[in-house]
């Protein structure tokens, strides 16, 4: 059995994103005006998941750790919004986000202490098992969490009411809330991009590529893994908080381990060796799932087959494959 870490292969030269960014940004900005409301709402979901997938990739693509427990953070972020609304009687989105980010940090800090002592499969399984602790609590402590009914997340006020909230929820979600989500998405992705390009990011990649050498270059491997874990958990929780008002409800499903699998699926679909891969993957996966659920009751079968094909034939994902095609077209190796 090969011991090489999942990311220690030839690096994919990133598809030059610069050229695509501007038109993409324009498209995202005018989207509510060129597409029907329900499409915009679907895209909002996609953007929230994109933050979660990018967060996962901080660990996977850049630090070499595959977490099968990220639902814990996403769900925590969602429930944080619900708790803040229910127990503090607050409806400010900023407070929701702050609570979400804080929950992500605290939970990831705790889980991380345990998880980063391990690598490879043990790490993945441990993350899974710990995330189930949260799920089981949400499931069983129904008088606090609403159990399987979930916890209601009311329509939040954005920027303290500066952005007005129209009475019609659909309009709200497809306009004001969409732009808010876009803004949070841009900030989160921007921060994560800075992180991976920074000296800290270089250290993480070194840990991914050669743990022993990283140690002997003076990097405190375990500590940095933990920090990456906490950052990853924080951003994933923010994603969950963003998702909650869209869903209207924080439910145990958001904490259930197969959902962690979906987040991994998104990252792998888009290509976990690039920065933009998981983001693209999340949006595509979201559309894929929405399409599949709408067409057939056997949507899990469809998704499962896609994943199997992905792993067997296209492990570098969408962006990786595009990069490969690009190289061939340009006549490089």
């Amino acid at each position: 059995m090969n011991d090489t870490a999942v990311t220690a292969a030839r690096p994919a030269k990133p598809v030059p994103a610069g050229g695509y960014l501007a038109p993409l940004a324009v498209l995202l900005l005018i989207f509510p005006y060129i597409a029907p409301a329900y499409q915009t709402i679907i895209l909002s979901y996609g953007l929230a998941f994109a933050i979660a997938a990018a967060a996962l990739n901080l660990l996977l693509g850049y630090t070499g750790l595959l977490s099968f427990g990220h639902a814990a953070f996403f769900g925590a972020g969602a429930y944080a919004a619900g708790f803040v609304a229910k127990y503090l009687h607050v409806e400010s989105m900023e407070l929701f986000l702050a609570a979400g980010a804080l929950s992500g940090i605290v939970i990831a800090a705790l889980f991380g202490i345990v998880c980063v002592r391990y690598t490879r499969i043990f790490f993945s399984i441990l993350a899974l098992a710990l995330s189930q602790v949260l799920w089981s609590l949400a499931f069983k402590l129904f008088w606090v969490t609403g159990g399987t009914d979930g916890l209601r997340v009311p329509t939040p006020t954005l920027l303290g009411g500066v952005i007005g909230t129209p009475a019609d929820k659909v309009t709200f979600l497809s306009h004001q809330y969409y732009y808010y989500t876009l803004g949070v998405f841009a900030i989160c992705v921007g921060l994560m991009w800075l992180i991976v390009q920074s000296p800290f990011g270089q250290a993480l990649q070194a840990i991914r590529d050669n743990e022993v050498r990283a140690e002997f270059v003076g990097i405190r491997v375990r500590r940095y893994r933990w920090i990456a874990f906490v950052l990853s958990g924080m951003f994933a929780a923010v994603a969950g908080t963003l998702w909650a008002p869209l869903n209207g409800l924080a439910t145990p499903e958001a904490l259930y381990w197969p959902f962690s699998g979906e987040i991994v699926f998104m990252a792998v679909l888009g290509g976990f060796r690039t920065f933009s891969g998981p983001i693209i993957g999340a949006v595509v996966f979201n559309y894929l799932k929405a399409y599949a659920v709408g067409r057939t009751e056997y949507w899990q079968l469809l998704l499962g087959v896609v994943l199997v094909i992905l792993v067997m034939a296209m492990p570098e994902g969408i962006m990786g494959t595009l990069a490969r095609i690009g190289r061939r077209v340009r006549g490089e190796a």
């Binding site: 059995m1 090969n2 090489t4 870490a5 999942v6 220690a8 595959l66 099968f68 345990v114 002592r117 391990y118 490879r120 499969i121 043990f122 993945s124 399984i125 441990l126 899974l128 098992a129 710990l130 189930q132 602790v133 089981s136 609590l137 499931f139 069983k140 402590l141 259930y256 381990w257 197969p258 699998g261 991994v264 699926f265 792998v268 009751e297 056997y298 949507w299 899990q300 079968l301 998704l303 499962g304 087959v305 896609v306 994943l307 199997v308 992905l310 792993v311 067997m312 492990p315």
Partner: protein, 293 residues
């Protein structure tokens, strides 16, 4: 006193089922270093096959004969495993182990819907089989006789498995391969065939677990996903790759669960997962593992 007997027996039942599922998972890992996230869904498949067969044939066949369906269900699931390993798992052995997790997760999704497709979206029951055995008096308390059968199946399986791994020629080759694959190949052992066999046995165990417990609790979509995490807890505690560990781990988990249900029902599951984490932190190799299977 009565409840103590009942609780103890329930614990034994739970141990038996957990051992079968987790033991299969552990065996596969021990021999092949594969973690199969779809393992729980093979347990579910066994449950559905049994429930469908026993439920369908219940009216016309005497209950004791229906028990013959147990190994049949197990074998069917084993055959599914024999189909999966060479086609989907073998290509991944030369790649990073994380890809197995991804692929078997895809398999999980596929099996979930295939089960729904073949057996329908509603839960299936084989409770008539369960009630047909009636209660039996154990140390003064009435206890379902079928449950005792489950304990019996668990015991027999443990013994058979132990004999197979430690007393047969196959078992020797199995253990040799798990310790040192390259050496095994150079000794002329047909490692490929061995892998198919090991994986099939692991699936068979999961299938039997599902089949034997289904008269007690029914077959429901999603039961596999639940069961998987529990079996992870068992193998983490007992040590991945060790059959004795799977048995010990199953017992510990069963005991803790029974205690938790009695005293802190809300924390039942949380306690188990926390226990797994605690074991991983203190004794990462598991409480009972050795370096080989």
């Amino acid at each position: 006193m009565a409840t103590l007997v009942v609780q103890a027996l329930n614990t034994a039942v739970y141990t038996a089922v957990l051992f079968l599922i987790a033991g299969g998972l552990s065996l596969v890992y021990g021999v092949m270093r594969v973690v199969n996230l779809a393992h729980g869904n093979l347990y579910m498949l066994g449950a559905f096959v049994m429930a469908w067969a026993a439920g369908g044939a219940a009216a016309s066949v005497a209950p004791p004969l229906l028990l013959l369906l147990l190994p049949v269900a197990g074998v069917i699931v084993g055959l599914v495993g024999a189909a999966i390993e060479p086609t989907l798992l073998r290509p991944l052995y030369n790649r990073a182990e994380e890809y197995q997790l991804l692929l078997t997760f895809g398999l999980l999704l596929i099996l979930e819907d295939l089960t729904k497709f073949v057996f329908g979206p509603t839960p299936l029951s084989a409770s008539t089989l369960w009630s047909a055995f009636g209660p039996i008096s154990v140390l003064g308390s009435d206890y379902p006789a079928y449950n005792l059968l489950v304990i019996f199946v668990g015991l027999v399986s443990a013994v058979l498995l132990w004999a197979f791994v430690y007393r047969t020629k196959f078992g020797v080759m199995l253990r040799a391969t798990s310790q040192n694959r390259k050496m095994a190949v150079s000794l002329g052992i047909n490692v490929r065939g061995l892998y198919v066999l090991a994986f099939s046995i692991g699936c068979l165990m999961a299938g039997i677990a599902g089949a034997v417990i289904v008269p007690v609790q029914g077959a429901v979509l999603g039961m596999g996903v639940d069961a998987l995490v529990l079996s992870f807890v068992v193998v983490v505690i007992g040590g991945l790759g060790s059959l004795e560990g799977a048995l010990a781990g199953a017992f510990i988990v069963a005991v803790v669960r029974t205690l938790a249900i009695t005293f802190f029902p809300e924390l039942e599951l949380a306690v188990l997962y926390l226990m797994a984490a605690a074991v991983l932190v203190t004794r990462p190799a598991g409480l009972f593992s050795r370096s080989s299977s």
